[in-house]
């Protein structure tokens, strides 16, 4: 199977998922569509770099490319290294256990939309940490911020998410 065929299959099977990966980073649907196209073009141009390691590896590779494409776009549009406003951090009274329970109660689509509603900087860090599996050190290196700033943004994203889940339960 050559690159075009494999990508066509991935487009049919995982196109919606890959677009949702883009939306998690850029939120705006039209921009996410652009990122999706650019991601596919990048994948085709670098097809020789893809190593098929079994089922799901193409989907994982493409989702990584989508994330990279979106991060590049975000960095151009709005640098990620703007100063963190520590004063706006709000403490959540929701424990990790309660948060996990709350997440399990929320529908997948609503949870997805909650993530989209997070501020850009927090959403990007949350995405990279939770969905891409990066450490704070790696996120800091990628975004040009301090490791502590990455952890802070993650904490704030978590607090925001906890609040939204709390509101959702009401």
């Amino acid at each position: 199977m050559d690159g075009i065929e494999a990508l066509e299959k991935a487009y049919k099977d995982d196109g919606a998922y890959l677009l949702s990966v883009c939306r998690r980073y850029v939120r705006d649907l039209a921009t996410a569509q652009d990122m999706f196209q650019d991601g596919f073009v990048s994948a085709y141009l670098n097809w020789s770099k893809f190593r098929n390691r079994g089922p799901g590896s193409l989907k994982a590779w493409l989702s990584r490319i989508m994330a990279n494409t979106c991060l590049m776009h975000l960095r151009k549009k709005d640098p990620m290294n703007s100063a963190d406003d520590i004063g706006t951090v709000r403490m959540s009274d929701l424990s990790d256990t309660a948060l996990a329970e709350g997440i399990s109660q929320v529908r997948d689509e609503d949870l997805y939309n909650m993530i989209l509603d997070l501020p850009d900087q927090e959403r990007v860090v949350l995405n990279m940490f939770v969905f891409e599996g990066f450490s704070h050190r790696e996120i800091a290196s990628a975004l040009g911020i301090k490791e502590s700033a990455s952890a802070m943004r993650f904490y704030r994203a978590k607090a925001h998410l906890a609040e939204m889940i709390k509101d959702y339960e009401k």
Binding site: I4, L7, E8, Y11, D14, G15, A16, Y17, L19, S20, R23, R24, L29, Q33, F36, Q37, D38, F40, V41, S42, A43, Y44, L45, N46, K49, R64, I65, A67, N68, T69, L71, M72, R75, M80, N81, D96, T97, L99, A100, I103, S104, V106, D108, E109, L111, Y112, I115, M128, F129, V130, F131, E132, F134, R137, E138, I139, S141, A142, L143, G144
Partner: protein, 447 residues
């Protein structure tokens, strides 16, 4: 439950539920997407052929070899006219005037204008040059007066009162007016040579063949033409030869470009390589958006050149190269300082007054003598000795200009190739093995 487990619990749950969510479908059909992909691929091929891929490596090799070979052939096939009759000075390290003589008869009253343009006796007599004027007047006074005009039109004159009193008055002046020989009647070392030459009772002078001139009646350096059948009927060309055995060069170079991006073909393992929508290649190392930027390498050093022959030389030295790399956007940096010992050979193929052109080729091992990275820079080295030696080879065409006899300027456009090594640090040379530089410097002649 430990904190980590709790966190894994809620993040894992979030990943499971929101991560697998597939919402809206893409607007663009795959047929349209395919068209875009094919167009981008075509654009990348065009852009790649013009920049990143550039000239094929074999063609660059061939060009470098051809330049060196052509220069070598030129140097080997270039011989001074009448070199079998060259009276060549042998004192190494001194600037000599070598005179080419022709064995053809000429009248006694002949003026000789010797200059690089190759005046013949007749030319000189008929010209308006001071040398010619002097010669003509000397001839009319029945004296055997011989005038030599060197490169600066300063006359070198031998004058003889009459045929029976050879070398009565000999006056030599060279271009720098440093050697002046006046009147050889008694005791004067300069004229003594002339006197000795005249001892045979002939009317004409015998040339005092100083500094290794051949025994035949050819005048040599700083000497007058000497016999009745004058050897100077043909153009007489002085050939200036400089044989500076040792010269010391101090140089640095200007790089051809200042920033290098990742090259997909040389991406180290563990990197993700991808391109943006314009087909530009990017690296991702550890973090998905990292890009490597390489500042222009800064290089400088000393070289020692040994002239094996007037044309060929060998060269070695010590060269330091500073390589600075940083990762965007994290700002992680890597600074490396390499010390290399270039060993090369070359040849001069054009010498025109103070200018000369030469070609050379070299090989150089370079060892990293200082290396620093900050915490965020991905590095596989814990100590300097882990960093492998960087090997390179190159060819250059150089142009030199001697400001004085001891100091000269030179410029050497150089094509270098840095041999790939997967274990080498991420540097500009690793990404762009072929590199063009302009080496500029001063050269000091030690002799």
């Amino acid at each position: 439950m430990k904190n980590n487990d709790i966190q894994k619990d809620w993040t894992g749950l979030l990943r499971e539920k929101a991560g697998s969510y597939a919402g809206d479908k893409p607007e663009m059909s795959f047929a349209e997407l395919k068209e875009k992909m094919l167009l981008a691929a075509a654009g990348q091929q065009v852009a790649g052929s013009a920049s990143r891929r550039g000239i094929p490596a074999w063609l660059k090799y061939a060009a470098a070899v051809a330049v060196v070979a052509a220069g070598g052939v030129f140097a080997l096939t270039r011989r001074p006219a009448g070199d079998s009759q060259i009276a060549e000075a042998t004192n190494a390290g001194e600037e000599e005037i070598v005179v080419v003589a022709r064995e053809e008869a000429a009248s006694d009253d002949t003026s000789y204008a010797i200059d690089p343009s190759g005046y013949t006796a007749a030319d000189a007599a008929s010209s308006d040059t001071p040398a010619a004027s002097n010669a003509s007047s000397a001839s009319s006074a029945k004296s055997s007066r011989k005038a030599y005009s060197n490169q600066n039109n300063t006359d070198i004159i031998t004058e003889k009162a009459d045929g029976s009193s050879p070398a009565a008055n000999t006056n030599y002046t060279n271009s720098n007016s440093t050697d002046k020989y006046v009147d050889g009647d008694t005791g004067d070392s300069a004229s003594a040579d002339s006197d000795k030459a005249a001892d045979g009772g002939k009317e004409a002078d015998e040339a005092p063949a100083t500094k290794g001139a051949p025994a035949q009646a050819a005048p040599a350096t700083k000497s007058a033409p000497a016999n009745g059948t004058d050897p100077f009927a043909e153009p007489v060309k002085p050939v200036r030869k400089q044989l500076k055995k040792f010269s010391l060069g101090a140089s640095g170079f200007l790089a051809s470009n200042s920033i290098g991006n990742g090259n997909a073909d040389n991406a180290p393992k563990g990197m993700t390589v991808y391109t943006d929508k314009n087909g530009k290649v990017f690296y991702s190392f550890g973090a998905p958006t990292a890009r490597y930027y390489h500042s222009a390498p800064v290089s400088g050093g000393l070289s020692l050149r040994y002239s094996i022959t007037p044309a060929f030389f060998a060269e070695t030295g010590l060269r330091f190269t500073y390589l600075h790399t940083w990762i965007s956007p994290s700002g992680a940096v890597q600074n490396l300082l390499y010390a290399g010992i270039p060993v090369g050979v070359g040849f001069n193929f054009v010498e025109l007054g103070s200018f000369n052109l030469y070609a050379s080729a070299y090989g150089m091992p370079a060892k990293c003598v200082m290396g620093r990275t900050n915490a965020n820079f991905p590095s596989n080295y814990s100590k300097l000795s882990d960093i492998p030696i960087m090997w390179s080879a190159g060819a250059s065409l150089g142009a030199g200009y001697n400001i004085t006899r001891t100091i000269g300027l030179f410029a050497e456009p150089t094509v270098s190739y840095y041999f790939p090594n997967d274990n080498a640090p991420q540097t500009l040379y690793k990404e762009n093995p072929f590199y063009f530089t302009l080496n500029l410097g001063l050269r000091f002649n030690l002799n």
